[in-house]
C-alpha cells in the first residue's frame, strides 16, 4: 500500500528528475523508428513538389528563439525542398527576435545547394510595417533593403515578382497567431495560397482552415518537421529530436497510468494529489 500511496502523490522533483534522465537517455540512443507521414504534411509537400521550376515561394519566420527547437528544423526542411526543386525563395520575418534565426537558416541551406543570393533566394528580414499587406502591394517598396542592407530594387529575383499575386505559396512558420493574419490578408485579400508550420500546441487551432482549403498544408510540431525531413530525405535535427520526445511522452504516460491505478486502488478517496496540483 505504501507504493500505491507514493504513486498517488509523487514528489514533483522525482518527476522532473526522471523526465530529465529519460530525455538525456533518448538523446544518447540512436534508435531509428519508422516515421508515418500525416496528411497535412503530405499535402504541403505535394503542393511544393508540383510547383514549376522558377516559381516563387515566401517563407515567413514568425517565431522567436523560444520556439526555435520546433520551428527552425521545419523551416530548414522546407527550404531544402524549395532549393532542391529550384524554386525561388523570399524570406521575411514578422517577429523581430526571429530575424537572425531566419538569416541563419537561409545562409546554411543556400550553401548546401549553391543557391545564389538575390537571384535564387533573398532574405529580407523584418521591418516595422504591416508586412503581409506590404508584400501584397509591393515587396520592393516595403523592403527597400534586404537583411544584409543591400538595395532590393535591382535584384534579379524581383524582376518577375512584384507582390504576393506573383507568389505561388506563402508559408508562415509561427509560434503565435500569424498564420491567421496570413490567411486573412495574403489568401483572402491577395489570393496567395498559404500554408503553415506551427508548434504542436497550436496545431489543433488550424485544422478548420486546413479543411476549408485556406491552408494547403500544415506542419505540426517537431514530429511534423521530422516527417518533412523524411520526405525530403534529409534527416536532421527534428529526426534526432524524435527519440528524446518519444522517451519523454512515454514517461509522462507512465506517470498518468500509475497515478490513475493508485487513484482507483485507494477507492477514489480525496488525497493530497489535488492539493498539490496547484504547485505542479
Amino acid at each position: 500500500m505504501g507504493f500505491i500511496r507514493w504513486c498517488l502523490n509523487v514528489d514533483r522533483r522525482v518527476i522532473y528528475l526522471l523526465l530529465a534522465a529519460t530525455i538525456g537517455l533518448g538523446m544518447c540512443v540512436d534508435w531509428k523508428m519508422t516515421m508515418s507521414i500525416s496528411p497535412p504534411v503530405r499535402s504541403l509537400y505535394d503542393h511544393i513538389d508540383k510547383l514549376k521550376e522558377g516559381s516563387t515561394v515566401v517563407l515567413s519566420v514568425d517565431y522567436d528563439p523560444g520556439s526555435e527547437a520546433e520551428l527552425q528544423p521545419m523551416l530548414m526542411a522546407v527550404l531544402r525542398h524549395c532549393m532542391k526543386k529550384k524554386i525561388k525563395v523570399i524570406g521575411v520575418a514578422n517577429v523581430m527576435t526571429g530575424t537572425s534565426l531566419g538569416a541563419d537558416a537561409f545562409k546554411a541551406v543556400a550553401k548546401e545547394y549553391n543557391a545564389k543570393d538575390e537571384e535564387d533566394y533573398v532574405y529580407l528580414g523584418f521591418v516595422y510595417a504591416p508586412i503581409i499587406l506590404g508584400l501584397g502591394e509591393d515587396i520592393v517598396a516595403t523592403f527597400p533593403l534586404d537583411f544584409a542592407q543591400k538595395p532590393t530594387k535591382d535584384m534579379p529575383i524581383f524582376k518577375k515578382v512584384k507582390n504576393l499575386k506573383d507568389v505561388s505559396l506563402a508559408i508562415s512558420f509561427a509560434s503565435n497567431a500569424m498564420p491567421d493574419a496570413w490567411i486573412m490578408q495574403a489568401y483572402t485579400r491577395y489570393g496567395c495560397r498559404v500554408a503553415a508550420g506551427v508548434t504542436a500546441v497550436q496545431a489543433a487551432e488550424y485544422y478548420p482552415n486546413l479543411d476549408t482549403g485556406q491552408l494547403v498544408g500544415l506542419i505540426n510540431g517537431l514530429k511534423g518537421a521530422a516527417e518533412y525531413e523524411t520526405l525530403v530525405n534529409k534527416p536532421e535535427r527534428a529526426m534526432r529530436g524524435m527519440n528524446p520526445q518519444s522517451a519523454a511522452h512515454v514517461v509522462i504516460i507512465a506517470f498518468i497510468v500509475l497515478g490513475n491505478i493508485a487513484y482507483f486502488v485507494t477507492g477514489r478517496k480525496k488525497t493530497g494529489g489535488a492539493a498539490q496540483s496547484a504547485g505542479h
Binding site: 509523487v10 518527476i15 522532473y16 523526465l19 530529465a20 530525455i23 523508428m33 519508422t34 516515421m35 508515418s36 500525416s38 496528411p39 522567436d64 528563439p65 523560444g66 520556439s67 526555435e68 527547437a69 527576435t97 537572425s100 534565426l101 538569416a103 541563419d104 521591418v127 516595422y128 510595417a129 499587406l133 506590404g134 501584397g136 502591394e137 517598396a141 516595403t142 544584409a148 489543433a204 485544422y207 478548420p208 479543411d211 514530429k223 521530422a226 524524435m242 520526445q245 518519444s246 522517451a247 519523454a248 511522452h249 512515454v250 514517461v251 509522462i252 504516460i253 506517470f255 498518468i256 497515478g259 490513475n260 487513484y263 482507483f264 477514489r268 494529489g273 498539490q276 496540483s277 505542479h280
Partner: protein, 210 residues
C-alpha cells in the same frame, strides 16, 4: 478635446476609409491602400518604437528611484537594452557581428531554456490533472494519452500505426467540430467589438478606464 474627441474621430474616419477601400476595386483605391501600407504605416511603426522605449525607460527608472522590490533587475533591463542598442547601431547587425553573436549566444539560449522548463511543469501537471474522476475527465485523459502517443514515432511502433491514425481523426473530427463552433462565436464577437470601437461605444483603448 485632443485626448478624447480627436482620437475617436480619427479612429472612425480611418475605419470607414479602410472598410470602404476593401470593397472598391479601382486603381485609385488600390494605390491608396498600397501607399498607406508601404509608406505611411512604417513611419507610424517607428514612432511606436520611440513610445515603447520611453515607456520602458520611465517604468524602470521609477522603480529604481523608489527602490521598490526587485529594482536591481530594472537596472539590468535598462543596461541590457541600451548596451544592445549601442552595439547594434555602432557595430552593425550583419551576420557575424557582435550584436548577432550576443543575440544567438545569450538571448536565444536563455529564451529556449525558459521555454523548455515548460516540459517539466507540463509533465508534473499532466500527472496530477489527468485523473479519471468523472466521465468528462476520463474522455480528456484518453484523448490526451492517444494524442501524446500519436505525436511520437514510438506511439506508432507500440500500437502498430494506429496511434497516429486515431490522433489525426481526433484532430480532424471532434477537435474541428468544436473549433468551428468557437471560431464562429469569436468572429461574430470580433465584428461586434470592431463596430463598437468604430462608432465610439467601446473606448477602453483610449485608456483612463472609460
Amino acid at each position: 478635446m485632443f485626448r478624447r474627441q480627436l482620437p475617436l474621430a480619427l479612429c472612425f474616419v480611418f475605419a470607414v476609409i479602410f472598410l470602404v477601400q476593401s470593397f472598391v476595386n479601382k486603381p485609385w483605391s488600390t494605390e491608396f491602400a498600397s501607399k498607406m501600407f508601404t509608406e505611411i504605416t512604417p513611419v507610424m511603426g517607428t514612432f511606436a518604437i520611440a513610445i515603447g522605449i520611453s515607456t520602458f525607460v520611465n517604468y524602470h527608472m521609477a522603480k529604481m528611484r523608489r527602490k521598490v522590490e526587485g529594482w536591481r533587475y530594472s537596472t539590468v533591463a535598462l543596461v541590457a537594452m541600451f548596451a544592445m542598442g549601442a552595439i547594434g547601431i555602432f557595430g552593425g547587425i550583419d551576420t557575424g557581428s557582435l550584436s548577432e553573436k550576443l543575440f544567438l549566444s545569450v538571448f536565444s539560449p536563455m529564451q529556449g531554456a525558459m521555454f523548455s522548463l515548460l516540459a517539466f511543469f507540463m509533465a508534473s501537471a499532466a500527472y496530477r490533472a489527468f485523473r479519471a474522476r468523472t466521465f468528462e475527465a476520463t474522455l480528456l485523459l484518453l484523448a490526451g494519452v492517444i494524442v501524446m502517443l500519436g505525436r511520437v514515432p514510438i506511439g506508432d511502433y507500440l500500437t502498430g500505426g494506429s496511434a497516429s491514425v486515431v490522433t489525426e481523426w481526433l484532430l480532424k473530427v471532434p477537435n474541428m467540430a468544436s473549433k468551428r463552433a468557437i471560431l464562429l462565436g469569436v468572429s461574430l464577437g470580433m465584428v461586434a467589438t470592431s463596430l463598437k470601437i468604430m462608432v465610439g461605444i467601446e473606448r477602453s483603448w483610449l485608456g483612463g478606464g472609460d
